[in-house]
Symmetry: D2
């Protein structure tokens, strides 16, 4: 296949190309501290190897953009089609998910060659051919998909490293020492009830699960001014939170007993002091920082213990929109800040965007009028609308460009390897 | 303990006593076709032995009514307190649920003696002491609790019998032969959007999970005029419904593959013809009758295949209330009809109440402002508000007195041993 | 079918009939203290309900004696053939073993009717037809088979009762109080090496796995004068036996860790004192009595801790034969003594026969020249000759008539619900 | 630590050093075709990553030789002690075996540096210090240990590659095409009964489990003149061998049903033709070559189907010794031949040594008088003497120096990822 270097002749093409290169490059930068051995790790079925993320995100562009739209494009490698499909059953049986860590071949170099071929061909496609709205939409979808995998790449490698007794650090350097000694008391923000607009609409990108925009009738509620901190969660533990069944949902209590849970994932006590495993290795627990890596059951039990509850996803969206600052992302702790951990809220900072994904009490269900699209890309979101909970707001490893008030993330209640935290609400 | 035979002096007392005796007696009538051996069967952790249901419903009255409220009442047997507690962790560790079938002792006679003692003492309590609103509420709660177990008693023994290769029948006689040859075509009932009142309120009994009554904003929708029939579901099977992943929720497809599902629970094919196991033993499948014993994934996949969807619980409640007849229960196929199976809809019959519990797309979550009560009885509903789906409308084995438009039943999406069916909806 | 009452005309017929009636009657006597509910209990896949034992032993006579040999005999019930087959794959797929406890039907009365029909027909067969050697052999095999199930009936109900928190007793009365305060020190019996005859031969009955009789070359060894006692095993526990991996076989240590084992099955500590669950309910642990219900790993670890080892099955047989008294069964603690538990050795009593099955270090393998018979009855022993260990000597619940020096019992190393114990050996 | 370069002054030192270097170098040559990613693969708990084998064999020398015997030696890295311990519980809790594939760190370079340090220090130890018999014994043990891991390295990577849908080849080139079209008919070799010496004795190295040498009394038997071939095993399959329960041991039949087995591990049928996965990738099945990668149950079922049986380990050893040629290893298909697969027997070749490990019917048990040594090295063999079967004779990937007639290998009956095969025997 030869791609003639054509002139990029429109602003949209140029913007799309720039963004494409930036997002694709960011993925590789995130993988940069890792060796070929690291990039093959898969520590549980929920997680995937870095190498697989690198390949699968390219597979997406190859499958949905290059093969149907770039004349003359030939598959990079027929095996890759099977190996790096994720859950698109309509495109054939995907390779067994729990065994992704067993793919030493194709090797890392081949995967990078795959990326480069895909990048070069997308470059060529954007240079040579008119950018139709459909093409723009597909590439934008592919980039948002890649940004999701950027976040997974980091949470998956964090989990894999946590299994290794030598507790490797992803980051070279430890975090700054000047962590704040305290954080402001949490206060309640009052929000009046009424009919509110919910969901994504307009020109900017949003996932199908954020639509259709629609109205929700809410009652008066209140919501906390910041995330729950490590210190507050420590009180819950010390008060016997993990031993009192009345605080827990039934399924949560079963999980506590079965796994003998006594503290959040990544916490450990050494000689009477709490530490937590982070992307910078094992670090002393910092009380004012937001508590993270909780599953839904822990978040709910903490809320019950506090005499509060978790917000619904609608309450969250309404509160976050009403309270947002003019430049909502300024100062938000997102991927670009490169903190790689949640940070203690500074005075007046509400932390709706960034720091941690916030568990809402809402089950992940379709919005009224939702229709999954009927093509393979349409397998994307609808099929997961059962048994999961909605999380809102993005985390310290979410790209700034990827988050918005209407964004609906979703995980199973028992999962805790994402950067998840708690914001309280009440009636 | 001696109970003086006093005069029942008020209408409320008399009504409560009459109802108490009737409900308690109904439970024993339902157990009547079963032997002591049958009553000990437990075929899976989700199900319980009949004997256990007989005892546990009595335990409820003993624990929450007699012990705290009848002066001088002494526990019937201290062991029963542990053995027949269900999931009230606040009252001590319940006996391991999957092992309820291993309790050959206490024997059935002792359990009936337990029932008689409890009945006699409640009689005495109602005769001797003033019926406070709290007492009336507790007894009413206990009776509703018992009615729930009446239904479970039947579904649990049905499941247990289905494991036995000789396929025992609970009912002596086979169903009537004059089953209708056909059922009217299903049509769409149009319901306009708007703000509707949802939930239980007023003087009659409802469970805490039906409250608070509140407003929901709905969009225009349509809902099917009757339940989906066996014949319609057979078309889904014959069209390859169990082999097409695009029709299924992700978790549902995983279950189909893992268990190699090809048809509903209790269906079996013999020499090219479909049969289903019923409380009257193995019977030929009757096309016009409503399809039953589906799990949520099957209901959802069928709806997708049909180009429709399942209703939300709010849509269901609004439609059922709008369309109800003056005497909504007249003709409904509920327990008192003693059909013990869903029946083909007769002309104009909407089947909202009775026949089958209808899966809604709504996750089982608290209504706005819901607070679980803080005592042990309050463990009742709130702790299950995660991972389950709401079902509405009651079934052919639900007592008429126990069902109402606002009633919220709930089961896990994978469960199918209840009398569950499908009503379609659309935008 | 009619059986003409004929004259029993030979001594063999009379003896066989007498024995048949006695053994069959014994099974029913052993079941006598149990209710229909008790007789349906199955507490684990390894165990079977009493009702199943009652039926399966009759199935054996029906299948291998009556159907092929009694002219005109018709199956009692075709379903029974499938339900009460154990593992004879050549006779069709047996009913799923772990679900035997779910057979409430056929009910207990039908099973007793089945027994009576079989008994009556065997009576008729023996009265009417000549007793060929083949018939005598088959009936004798059937009776030995039934005696094996007598023992299993007791160990299975013991296990089932042990799960019930109220710890029911099979026996009405507690054991005598006059238990000995002490037992003689164990001493070593020296046995010279040489070539010894091993196995069953001659006219009396033995199982195929005891043959062919053959020669084994043994080295000098020594063997303990009695079984290991509870008190001795308690010292092992108190010395940290369950916490020291060096004492354990690799698979045994894995089991200790996985199940958090700290003591034998049926032992429990209450307020600082040891008890054990017995057929007479929970009883204080009696130090001089033999320690029982050990699995092979525990027996082996105790032997290692003691600086000794377990005997091979050949050493056991040679020692037991050399040391036997003229009337070896006199005073032995077997089923007929109705002690239902192992007893402290009295002075000079070697306990080779009775009290407890003794784990040997020998894997259960065929003797040189062993051939399984090729008919269905031949499925009996050979197919289990892998992964199991040989036990010797019978137990306190083995019928006297059923045990002999060459008898080879076999269980998996992890199993402990039989009456199993330890005899030490050394080089 | 400094090692003075001393003179190697004795022949023993020189021989030991030469052998040490050769064996250690061989391990690295076997790893040479693999990438760092390949070397991290762990496809099941039974297998280990190549990197782990490289490290663990060095850990053995460091732990048992350098630390106790080289003055001034300091641990290479304290973490390695924990990470690369295998099952020596007496040296601390080993790292979780099923998670060895999750150790991306230490990286491969560090493991090679570890090997080099250990090699250099052993060189220094042998150069500087007198070689006591104890030291010689320990180093010889370490080299034999390393040779065991050479074989595991190959079988483990073969298994890991077999999971990958692209079926990678360990070997660059396919095998020669000139495979023999046929193999001589198998014949029976008659061996007279008698008392034979069994086991390892004398000056050369043998493992503790081969001792003590002792006498076994054998009956007349016969043994096949070569291994069973693929073609013969294919007949067993085509005759319905995997569908006939009477041919199988009970545990084997359970495994066949549970895993729906229909052919040996690594066989697959494509378009009506059999292939097998090999170290040279997927290759057409060659009928005359020995059938390999069978588990014990398959070997036993095949023998039963053939009207024969498997030999005991004593029969095997006696036959192999009686029938051996003067230069028994000449022509044997062992690791040094670099065939990496079993080869069809040439005329007159008995294949006792090399080609495939031969399942014997003998359970892996201690020889009479066996005592495990009491130090940590003594954990080596005795603790596995339960639930496993003895295999004899070495395979096509066993180093020639590592095999001998008395060698006892052992695996669980269900395991088939070793190069295992069948030799028939009879009475």
């Amino acid at each position: 296949m030869t791609i003639l270097a054509g002139e990029v002749d429109t602003e949209i093409q140029q913007q799309l190309l720039t963004r494409f290169r930036r997002v694709r490059s960011e993925t590789e930068q995130l993988a940069d501290p890792l060796s070929a051995e690291d990039m093959q790790l898969q520590s549980m079925p929920d997680a995937s190897p870095t190498k697989w993320h690198l390949a699968h995100t390219s597979w997406f562009f190859e499958t949905f953009v290059l093969l149907p739209r770039l004349p003359g494009y030939r598959q990079f490698d027929a095996d890759f089609h099977h190996l790096f499909n994720s859950y698109y059953n309509s495109l054939g049986t995907p390779f067994s998910r729990p065994q992704r860590g067993l793919l030493s071949r194709p090797d890392l170099d081949s995967v990078f060659a795959y990326r480069q071929t895909v990048d070069r061909c997308i470059d060529g496609l954007l240079a040579e051919y008119p950018v139709t709205p459909e093409l723009e939409a597909l590439i934008t979808l592919g980039l948002n998909h890649e940004q999701q995998h950027q976040e997974l790449l980091l949470t998956d490698i964090k989990h894999a490293f946590s299994i290794n007794p030598i507790l490797p650090a992803y980051l070279d350097s430890a975090p700054d020492d000047d962590v704040p000694g305290r954080v402001e008391e949490s206060s309640w923000l009052q929000i009046p009830g009424g009919v509110y607009s919910i969901g994504g609409e307009g020109e900017h990108f949003f996932f199908d699960n954020e639509s259709p925009a629609h109205q929700q009738l809410l009652q008066d509620f209140r919501i906390a001014s910041r995330l729950v901190s490590n210190g507050e969660y420590r009180e819950f533990i010390e008060d016997g939170g993990y031993r009192e069944p009345r605080l827990w949902l039934s399924d949560g209590w079963a999980q506590v007993q079965q796994n003998r849970l006594e503290h959040p994932l990544y916490w450990q006590k050494r000689e009477g002091r709490w530490y937590q495993f982070t992307l910078a290795g094992l670090q002393p627990l910092v009380d004012p920082e937001p508590v993270c890596h909780l599953n839904y059951y822990e978040a709910d039990a903490f809320a019950t213990w506090s005499g509060a509850r978790l917000p619904t996803e609608f309450e969250w969206e309404v509160a976050a929109c009403l309270l947002r600052k003019p430049d909502q992302l300024a100062g938000a702790n997102l991927l670009e800040k490169r903190a790689f951990r949640p940070l203690a809220a500074s005075a007046g900072q509400a932390q709706f965007l960034g720091d941690l994904w916030e568990w809402t009490s809402s089950a992940y269900q379709p919005y009224p009028g939702f229709r999954a699209s009927s093509d393979a890309v349409g397998e994307y979101n609808g099929k997961f609308m059962c048994n999961q909970k909605v999380l809102r707001g993005g985390s310290c490893i979410t790209p700034a460009e990827h988050i918005r008030m209407s964004y609906r993330n979703f995980f199973y209640p028992h999962q805790s390897w994402q950067f998840t935290g708690i914001r309280l609400a009440g009636d």
